[in-house]
């Protein structure tokens, strides 16, 4: 870094904590990534790249062991060296019951330091795609954690504060200077960072929840970089001198889902379950005008698609993506063939979770209204919306799903598999197909990737045929920055300021 360069960065919410293993949540991960390193990182194009691990291989003799080769010569910000011991300790910590990341490492049995720079991770079975799960696994310093009594993540029941919530010691490109939760967090460049020296030497991170205020702050020059730009403001920002907008697809799809399995619905005026009729599901697909939503609601900031998964996720195909123009006449016919008088149902929708979520739902209500489905809209805050899905209290709902592992299995596990055990937590539509379940379970341990991909395609065929999801689009992200900063949109909405170049 030749000269000091400060970037004032604003987004909708603050990191909830600085404890690296407590909250598996977007803004938290994004901030932590600047202080802590992961073993493996993900490039903006979605491919895996070396982090603190320079190499990862399945053990030649045992398909249930992953061998990680660690980077040498790395030190923590307090000066202590980074070794395999720290990785093993981090594994212990992340597997603790108070950790928010336990589910991601659910297949891990334990980790073992073979030497200072080699770690064996013992899996419960073959896990060929496990390294995908390492991109949000931050490595902490064992000695530091022990010295400060933070060997486990925050435990609420204990009722006391955890040192790691406000203090850090990572190997990442920046180190913490000060933190005032929800107000401002200041990071400065870590001079001992093992990678290329970042051009941005100081980061001032400020959450600004109100969209209008956030954009106003950029327009008035109070911040340099704004995430979560409302789609309608992009045009204005692009025209503003001194401000650039970069956009790119997010690893997240927005879709509707419904309960097609129950005998009756909770919110419908008809005696049976309308969604159980394939005609109705087809009609709804025909009524969804994705281009209009893109055009008007999203202001062009979306990639309409019929496939309920982002293009860079393993399993996506061009043909799944395709969708036809809406055909209201045909759709209305289909509806009236089953229900001559139409039917009514409630659509549950979040209003503070996805880009224009409520507006999309509203548009959907209008479109369905045109084909004789009378939809009442229940839009509410996320903390009320998601329990509906988890508790099977909704008939018809909107959901946006990100795929951090970049693999279809993640979708299948949570959304397609029958709800049982750790499967199907977000399968709010109660879809249940034993054959599909079996296939989903099988791919978890398949090591032959071609074979595995074939099964994935098979599952998708079935899911698409059953119209389990009614996908709307793949969400696009927009970052607005002041001129002179070159930043790329990260598919996980986790910008990396150390890779930013300054003109």
């Amino acid at each position: 870094a030749a000269q000091a360069e400060t970037v004032r960065w604003a987004r909708v919410a603050d990191a909830l904590t600085l404890d690296p293993h407590s909250q598996n949540e977007g803004p938290t991960l994004a901030l932590l990534r600047h202080v802590y390193d992961t073993l493996v990182s993900r490039d903006v194009d979605g491919t895996l790249a070396p982090g603190l691990a320079t190499d990862w291989q399945i053990h030649p003799d045992d398909p249930t062991i992953w061998v990680l080769t660690l980077r040498e010569g790395v030190t923590f910000q307090d000066g202590s060296p980074f070794t395999a011991e720290d990785v093993v300790f981090s594994y212990e910590r992340v597997l603790h019951e108070d950790s928010g990341f336990r589910a991601i490492h659910a297949d891990v049995v334990g980790a073992e330091a073979v030497d200072d720079y080699t770690v064996h991770v013992q899996m419960s079975g073959p896990s060929p795609l496990y390294p995908n799960n390492l991109t949000n696994f931050f490595i902490v310093d064992k000695d530091w954690a022990e010295a400060n009594d933070v060997v486990t993540p925050q435990n609420y029941a204990a009722g006391d504060e955890n040192y790691a919530v406000r203090n850090t010691n990572g190997t990442g490109p920046y180190q913490l200077v000060s933190r005032d939760p929800e107000v401002r967090t200041v990071l400065e460049v870590n001079d001992t960072y093992w990678g290329d020296a970042p051009q941005v030497t100081e980061v001032i991170y400020q959450p600004i929840p109100e969209a209008a205020t956030r954009i106003a702050a950029l327009l008035s020059g109070e911040v340099d970089f704004v995430q979560d730009v409302p789609v309608q403001d992009i045009a204005r920002l692009e025209q503003t001198e001194g401000v650039n907008v970069v956009t790119g697809p997010e690893n997240r799809n927005i879709f509707f889902a419904y309960d097609a399995s129950s005998d009756t619905l909770q919110s419908s005026n008809v005696d049976d379950n309308p969604f159980s009729h394939p005609e109705i599901r087809e009609a709804m697909a025909l009524a969804l005008d994705r281009d209009a939503i893109r055009q008007v609601v999203m202001r062009g900031q979306s990639q309409p698609s019929a496939a309920p998964l982002p293009p860079f996720v393993n399993g996506w195909t061009e043909e799944m993506n395709e969708y036809g123009a809406p055909d209201y006449e045909r759709a209305a016919e289909l509806v009236s063939s089953v229900y001559p008088d139409g039917f009514s149902v409630q659509l549950d929708c979040p209003n503070d979770r996805y880009l224009n979520d409520e507006a999309i739902c509203q548009a959907m209500v209008g479109m369905l209204g045109r084909i004789g489905i009378d939809v009442s809209l229940n839009s509410q805050t996320r903390s009320l919306h998601f329990p509906l899905i988890e508790n099977w209290e909704t008939d018809f709902y909107m959901l946006g799903w990100g795929v951090p592992t970049f693999d279809s299995a993640y979708i299948f596990n949570f959304l397609v598999h029958t709800r049982e055990g750790s499967y199907g937590a977000y399968n709010g539509g109660r879809y249940s197909n034993p054959e599909v379940d079996a296939m989903i379970e099988s791919i978890a341990t398949m090591t032959d990737l071609d074979e595995r991909n074939a099964v994935i395609a098979q599952i998708w065929d079935q899911v698409m045929e059953d119209r389990v999801f009614l996908n709307v689009h793949n969400q696009l992200l927009a970052y607005a920055v002041r001129d002179g900063l070159n930043i790329e949109v990260h598919p996980e909405n986790s910008p990396t300021l150390w890779t930013v170049t300054v003109d």
Partner: protein, 328 residues
């Protein structure tokens, strides 16, 4: 006097318990905190485990007892969202809110008082009518809209004032941080203070005007005129002082509601105060923070109420005498 204070304190305690009970009941309905606390990958069993560890599965009465017990010691637990002790979190945010509330309250009081006196003294003047009507615009638009419009005009279009935040703050001791000592801090305070103070200002102005008009018709003002006292002595010595008695009460209570009303202003201006903290907590179902906030509001109200009563006592000699004498 002592009896008065004791009675007030007893009442305050009842108020606080009532508020605690209400807020506690309330939280059972605002949403499921666990959902916001765990990632989407968490299994149902994990969620149950967390509920258990938070004590959310205990009998309600037990939960309430625990809540009250802790609250009495100023202990509200750890924020579900920010994982910090709630008391500390609130104390940290309180200076921002208090500073904003005091400045806007002061603004509202000074401007409201002056305009109220002016319009009362020149009741039929054109300017008075303009002020009276104009001031109503301030209460005829929702606060958030006024805030957004101010930001749009003064921050975005004119770029005169910052659109959000507190500017640079200076720490005073361990518990206080102030923006009043820095230029950027003072600039940042202007728009939020106006937004928040506008409503109170209108209220105070109208109140002062009404009270002043009443007072100006009383016999003792007439008698003061008949004694040939100067207009200034009458208007400001006699009339204003008598006007202030009821105005103090209401203004004092307003201060409590300013703190609460700050919710909206703080949201719009991204002002790092307790109001914004509260709204974020509501969204996240951060029950400990919400509970603490409500208790804090009640406490502020109770304290201000007490101060107002004492002030009242100081200003009005009639209250100082025991009631048993000739009452009127």
């Amino acid at each position: 006097m002592i009896a008065f204070i004791i009675r007030r304190l007893l009442q305050s305690i009842i108020v606080m318990v009532a508020v605690a009970a209400v807020s506690f009941t309330l939280f059972r309905f605002v949403g499921d905190p666990v959902n916001s606390m765990v990632g989407q990958e968490a299994s149902i069993a994990d969620r149950q485990a967390l509920r258990d560890s938070l004590g959310l599965n205990d009998p309600i009465l037990l939960q309430f007892a625990r809540f009250m017990g802790n609250a009495a010691q100023g202990e509200f637990g750890i924020s579900y969202r920010l994982q910090m002790p709630v008391t500390e979190l609130i104390l940290q945010r309180l200076p921002a809110t208090i500073e904003l509330a005091l400045v806007s309250g002061f603004l509202a009081f000074v401007v409201g008082l002056s305009l109220g006196v002016y319009t009362a003294l020149r009741r039929r003047g054109v300017m008075s009518n303009i002020i009276m009507t104009g001031s109503l615009i301030g209460v005829s638009l929702p606060t958030f809209l006024i805030g957004v419009l101010l930001i749009w005009v003064f921050a975005v279009e004119l770029r005169w004032l910052p659109s959000n935040g507190r500017g640079e703050v200076v720490a005073l001791g361990d518990w206080w941080s102030t923006g009043l000592l820095t230029h950027s801090g003072r600039l940042a305070l202007i728009l939020p203070a106006i937004t928040l103070g506008l409503y109170q200002m209108t209220l105070i102005m109208r109140l002062v005007r009404a009270e002043m008009l009443e007072v100006l018709r009383t016999d003792y003002i007439k008698f003061a005129r008949a004694r040939g006292l100067s207009a200034r002595a009458i208007n400001f010595g006699h009339a204003l002082k008598n006007t202030l008695v009821p105005v103090i009460t209401i203004t004092g209570l307003q201060l409590g509601s300013i703190i609460a009303f700050a919710i909206i202003t703080e949201t719009v201006f991204n002002w790092p105060g307790v109001g914004a903290l509260f709204i974020n907590s509501v969204r996240f179902v951060d029950v400990p923070v919400m509970a603490a906030y409500l208790m804090m509001i009640a406490l502020v109200f109770v304290v201000i109420n007490l101060i107002v009563d004492l002030l009242y006592y100081a200003v009005d000699p009639r209250l100082r005498v025991d009631r048993a004498g000739k009452a009127h």
